[in-house]
């Protein structure tokens, strides 16, 4: 069953070194824009899969292979991350 982007906040923070649950993802297929926290997340497969909540197209795949985090972002047209305030 799908969870949501809140469930992978730690993994994303480890990889991107900034909070990504509030980052805005634009689906490359349907154009829907949503915070990563609100997207569909599947943890049970090989690798972690993030899908668009509107059209279910794959937005992001994260796999950990021999100590390397491999992140495929090709399903997103844009990923907007708020800059840290000074």
């Amino acid at each position: 069953m799908a969870l949501d982007g809140n469930a992978i906040g730690g993994m994303l923070l480890e990889i991107f070194a900034t909070d990504m649950t509030s980052a805005e993802a634009t689906c490359a297929r349907c154009g829907a824009v949503r915070p990563v926290a609100e997207e569909l997340v599947y943890l049970r497969g090989p690798g972690t899969v993030v899908r668009c909540r509107r059209c279910t197209s794959v937005l992001m795949v994260i796999s950990r292979v021999r100590g390397l985090n491999c992140v495929d972002l090709s399903g997103m047209e844009a990923l907007e991350v708020k800059a840290a305030s000074d």
Binding site: D4, N6, G9, A17, T18, T21, S22, L43, A84, S85
Partner: protein
Amino acid sequence: MAGTALRGRLTWRVATVATVADETDHVRTITLDLPDWPGHHAGQHLDVRLTAEDGYSAERSYSIASADGEAVAITVERLDDGEVSPYLTQELRPGDQMEARGPIGNWFTWEPHDGGPLLLIAGGSGVVPLRAILRHHQRTGSNVPARLLYSARSLEDVIYRRELDQYGGSAEVRYTLTRRQPPGWGGFSGRIDDAMLARIAWPASQSPLAFICGPTPFVEAVAELLVARHYPTRRVKTERFGGA
């Protein structure tokens, strides 16, 4: 300040159990002593890592049960077929250690300047981050009106009941009991539906801010009902969990 402290600083720290307190038959709150904790916001998470003597380790993510500025606490529900929760809820003692990292997640959080009125809707142990938000609301003396609608199987399954029963004034708490109601029960019964929300949910015209937390089917159903009541999707923040 917390934002800058967070950047690139997600490191595992050794957490020492300060206190354990049973909330219900199968739910326990664990307060952690975490030196150098950078602070957290109500609604954020913590990752916990347990490592066995043979080196096998398991990680889980838990909502932080305490408000900004309070000692870090997590509330854990025992899943009988779980790998981690039986240990945390039955065997862990004060003085025991585990690894923890956080705080995690800036989306499912609330600060007084985010406004409201606040509508908090919890299914089962989904009440944990919403309790942190309610405590933060009270501790900051916010005058934003807040309502928590908490769906539990029975009164015995209500987590934080003593604390939640004390709310009143700017923060109201209502329960709906889905499986069993005590004799003379005056609260709601059954699953959350549109008729219940008609009595609890602020009208969309007041631009309420909603937080829903619970198992996936619960969250999907309630979010759909709120959107049907013309809540903009941007004002409906959701968090789902599954048994693992």
